[in-house]
């Protein structure tokens, strides 16, 4: 499992890891570093996985832990409350693909603005994790997950408004 297994695991979950990294870091170069750190953390943690939780949940847990420590390690407090001005507004017109890309970027930026606790819950929910799985991954109760997701929905609604 150590090398071939890890390579296969990384190939299978590269998308999940990329998205979790994107929820913690806006700068592409720093995000790339964070993604590598998450992968390394996963490589170190993998021998501890005993199959008690689904592998996907285990990967998400390790990645979120690394992401959270990345945020806590930052000296400056990331700007909150408003979306980055550089994120383009979606445009009307036939360029459906470009518009979709812009909407995705706005969603990414909005998720990054959320407080850490809400951000973790919401990214896991977007990945299709159940409330119970999110609770298990974050070490909180299912009730707390519901509260977080409710707050996150309201916050995302406010941040994205009619653009969704």
């Amino acid at each position: 499992m150590r090398h071939d297994g890890f390579d296969a695991l990384l190939r299978e979950h590269a998308g999940l890891l990329s998205r979790i990294a994107a929820s913690y870091e806006a700068d592409p170069a720093l995000r790339d570093d964070l993604l590598q750190d998450m992968s390394l953390a996963l490589w170190r943690a993998l021998p501890a996985w005993r199959g008690e939780a689904p592998l996907r949940a285990f990967v998400a847990r390790v990645a979120h832990n690394r992401g959270a420590t990345h945020v806590l390690g930052q000296m400056r407090r990331p700007a909150g409350g408003e979306l980055d001005d550089q994120v383009p507004e979606p445009r009307d017109g036939p360029e459906g693909h470009a518009e979709n890309e812009q909407r995705r970027m706005r969603l990414q930026a909005a998720v990054r603005v959320l407080p850490l606790a809400l951000r973790q819950a919401v990214t896991l929910a977007f990945e299709g994790f159940s409330h119970a799985e999110i609770a298990d991954t974050l070490g909180v109760t299912a009730g707390s997950v519901s509260v977080r997701l409710h707050r996150a929905k309201a916050a995302l609604k406010a941040l994205l408004g009619e653009q969704t």
């Binding site: 190939r11 590269a14 959270a68 995705r104 850490l116 977007f126």
Partner: protein, 200 residues
């Protein structure tokens, strides 16, 4: 389906459509980092071996004072290693594998890091003071003024060790300040049960 659920489904779909990193490139980067980590451990081990051999060499080439200093340095290295292990108790493994437990572990590690930095700081000061005390006879102007070789040795020691000590003190002070700020943020977040606190 309510508009709220519809938003949620739409967001989830949009989120999952994000482009993923190239797994092959990621694997190469991770492999490089793993080798760098191994190289770092090898360099640290080599450094310890060199320091150990240098202490042993003291027995062949130096006076009884410096032989005693070398012996005490060996004990000092062992004592420091024991203290490092003592301080790091409870920082090896989290009580659980959820994010909350792992962050609590990160908090304990940051606290242990501060204790280690303080230990390094004060042990360096104590080591420098003790070494100066042992070197006192060689530091008398009458000795080094008459002996060009001793003068060169003392000058080299001063030129090499002074910046190292100043750098170590500066790095430890910076590290302690950084970890304290980090601990304050983590405590706020953990105390709030990380239930929608304001941590970015």
């Amino acid at each position: 389906m309510t508009s709220h659920d519809s938003d949620w489904t739409q967001w989830g779909q949009l989120w999952r459509e994000q482009p993923a990193a190239d797994p092959s490139r990621l694997l190469r980067q991770v492999a490089r980092k793993r080798w760098r980590m191994r190289a770092m451990v090898a360099v640290e081990a080599l450094g310890t071996c060199v320091a150990f051999v240098q202490c042993l060499r003291m027995y062949d080439i130096a006076s009884w004072r410096w032989r005693a200093w070398g012996g005490l340095m060996l004990l000092f290295v062992l004592a420091m290693q024991a203290l490092y292990l003592h301080i790091r108790r409870g920082t090896w493994r989290a009580s659980g594998s959820d994010v909350h437990s792992l962050l609590a572990l990160t908090l304990r590690r940051a606290q242990a890091g501060i204790r280690l930095a303080r230990l390094n700081l004060w042990s360096t000061v104590a080591l420098a003071a003790f070494t100066l005390l042992v070197a006192w006879p060689e530091l008398e102007p009458g000795r080094w003024e008459a002996d060009p070789r001793l003068r060169l040795t003392l000058l080299m020691q001063f030129v090499v060790n002074t910046p190292l000590i100043v750098a170590l003190v500066a790095v430890c002070a910076w590290y302690i300040r950084r970890q304290k700020a980090r601990i304050a943020r983590m405590r706020t977040w953990l105390a709030s049960g990380h239930d929608g606190g304001e941590m970015g």
